[in-house]
Symmetry: C2
Subunit: 400 residues, 2 copies
Amino acid sequence: MKTIPNEGILAPAGFHAGSVACGIKSAAGALDVTVIVSETCASAAATFTTNRFAAASVHWNRTLLPTDDLRAVAVNAGNANAFTGQQGHDDVRATTELVARLLRCRPSQVCVASTGIIGHPLPMDKLTRGITDACDGLSLGASAADCAARAIMTTDTHAKLAAVESEAAGRKFRIGGIAKGSGMIAPNMATMLAFITTDAAVAPDVLHRCLRGIVDVTFNCITVDGDSSTNDTVLVMAGGASGTVIESEGASLDAFRQALHAVLADLCHQIVADGEGATHVVRVRVLDAADVADAERAARAVAESQLFKCAIAGGDPNWGRIVCALGYSGADVRAETTTVSIGDVCVVRDGVPTGQDASAPMQLPEFDVTISLGRGEGDASVLTCDLTHEYVSINADYHT
Amino acid sequence: MKTIPNEGILAPAGFHAGSVACGIKSAAGALDVTVIVSETCASAAATFTTNRFAAASVHWNRTLLPTDDLRAVAVNAGNANAFTGQQGHDDVRATTELVARLLRCRPSQVCVASTGIIGHPLPMDKLTRGITDACDGLSLGASAADCAARAIMTTDTHAKLAAVESEAAGRKFRIGGIAKGSGMIAPNMATMLAFITTDAAVAPDVLHRCLRGIVDVTFNCITVDGDSSTNDTVLVMAGGASGTVIESEGASLDAFRQALHAVLADLCHQIVADGEGATHVVRVRVLDAADVADAERAARAVAESQLFKCAIAGGDPNWGRIVCALGYSGADVRAETTTVSIGDVCVVRDGVPTGQDASAPMQLPEFDVTISLGRGEGDASVLTCDLTHEYVSINADYHT
C-alpha cells in the first residue's frame, strides 16, 4: 500500500469534481459548493449522525443508501439545512432534481450534504447558481481535489485529503477521501463530513459492512459519547473503474478494508490535529479492561475530560485528572490494578504513584496516554486534542 | 423564613468552628484547615461522590453516616487524599484519633473531608499542627464562619455562606451552610464540598431522607452526567440546640425541608456564579418532556454543551446549538412540538423559527433558557455557566 499525496477523492479513476464560491459562506470568494461525480453508476454506502434532529439531507440520503446506482454527491457549506421543516425537505428535493437535470440522471442517483448554521432555510437562488456552475466545471487532478476539500470547510484551518493505492488479487485499486473537521472534536455537535471514492468494484452491502466496521474504530473514536451533529456523514462511492473486484470475503476484502482504514484513519488524524484551537494530539489507549465496551468507556471519559484537556494545553502532567476520569467513567476499575503512562513515563503502577515526572512527553505535539486497567482483555483507543483559549475564541465569536 | 446574612454554619446555635493556615496550600498564609464542632452529639447525614476512586475520607464517612452521634468534621484544602492507597486510610484514621483526643470524644464521632490535588499523601505533620491549632481556636460568629468558608476554598474566588431562620410548630430553628465550588460546574471532576448545620432536632434517618431529596434537585442539578470528583460531599449536622423538634412527617418536616432547600439552593447558585471564569449564570428549564428523566436528559445535554456554553460567553443567540443538543440528548423530541425561549424571547415555536432576536437577554448576567418539548408532563432544570477564556487559563495553569 502506498500513499498518494494531494489527490484526495480524485486519486481513484472515474471521478470528477467541481467547486465554486456562490456566496453561502459570508467570506467573499470562499468556496462553498462542491459536486462530486462518478462517471459510472457507483456502489455507495454511508454512516450518518444519530441526532434526532438530523438534517433534511441526511433523511434523503438514508432513503437511497446503500445503492449500486449513485452518480453524484452535492455538498454545500455555510448552511446546515437542519431544523428547517418541510422547506428543508423541499429544498433537498429541488437540489437533487437540479443535479439530475445537469448530469442527465435521476434524482434518486444524487446524494446531498450540508454543513453550517442550523435553523436557516437554504438560500436556494445562490445554491442553484452554485451547483450549475460546479457541474459546468467538473474536472480532474490535485487542484480540483483540493478545491473540493476547501469547499466543505467551516472552521477548519486547512483542507483535509488522503489517498492510498493498494492491490487485490494482483490488481491495483485506489481509495481517496476528503473531510471537514468538527472543529474541536470532543464537543457536542460540530459537523463532521467525509467523502470517500474508490475505483475498486465493491457490492453495496460489502461496502456498507466495511465502512461501518472501520468508522466504528476511526471516526467514532474521535467523537463524544455518541453525541453527534445534525449533519454528520461519512459517504463512500465505489465506481469500479480500476476493474479490481473486491469479493465479499477473503484476501481482496482484507486488502480493501486495510486501505479504507488507512484513508479514514489519516483523515481522522487530520481532523483532530486541526481541532479548533488544538495544539496537541493525544491518543488515549486503554488496555486490559473487563471488555471492549468498558475500555471504550474509560478511554472516552479521559479523552473528554475538560480538565484533562486543559492540562494538556498547559503541559501539566496532572495524572490525578486521568485517574479521576477513570473513576467516574463507569468502567470496572480498581486502584490496585491500574497503571498509567504518559508517553514513555509510567506515573502510576498498580495503583501506586511512581513519582516520575511526565512533563517532557507532555511538551510533544503528539503523545499517547496508556492506561492498563488489569481487569480483562478489552482494549480501545480514542484520539483527542487539548482545550485552549483559541477554542473559546472561535466558538464564542462564531456568531449567527 | 428569613435570611441570616454572613453567619453560615454558625448561624444555628450549638456549633463552633476553628480555622487556620498550616501550609498545605502553597499560597502563604492561606487558610487550609477547618474543624466544625457540635456542642452536643448531633444527628448527621451526607451524600457522597459516586466516583469509583472515592477519597479515603469518603470511605471513612460512609461507615459512620447516618448517625445520631457526630461531634465534629475536620476539613482540609490543598490535598484531596485520594488515590493514596492504604496510607490514605491510615492518615484518615490518625486524623480522627487526633480530633477525638483534642475534643475528648471517640474517633467514630469525627468525620473528615479533603479537597485538592489527587495522588499525593497528606502532609500529616502540617495537618496535625493545623488541626491542633484549629481546635484550640474554636469560636462563634460571622468572622469564624467566614474563615471556615475560606479554609475549604480551592479555585473559588470568594467564600460561600448561606443561612435561614424558620419556624416549625411555633418554634424557631436555623439552618446554615458553607460550600466550596467545583470550579466551573459542568466539568468532570473538580471537587464540591458543602457543610450544613442546624439547631433543629432531627432524627438521622429523617435528616438523610430530606438531604437526599433536596440534593437531587440542587447540587445534582449543577453537576454533569453523574460525573463526580473523588471527594464530593454534602454533609449536614443537626444539634438540636433550638429545642425545635422536626417530626418524621407533617408540617414541621415541610418547614424544615423548605428551609434546607433554601440554604442548598443558595449555595448552589453561589457555586455556579463563581464557576471558574464564569460571567453568566443560565438556568436551562425543560418543560413538558415525556417524563422527568427525559426532562433531565434534555436539560443536561443543553446545559453541558460546550458549544452552547461558548455561545453564552459570546452573547450569541445561536439557538441551533440548543436544538442540536436536544437532538442528541436521548430524550424523546420532535421538531414540530419543540418550543425554545431565551429569556422572554421565543426563538422557536412548535418547530418553526420565529426570527426574533434574543441578543438582548443573552447580555444579562443571569437568564433562563426555557424549552417545551410537548411530549408529556416531565419538568426539570439545570443551572449552568458559560465557558470562557478564564476557565482555560485557570485549568491549564493549575499545575501539580
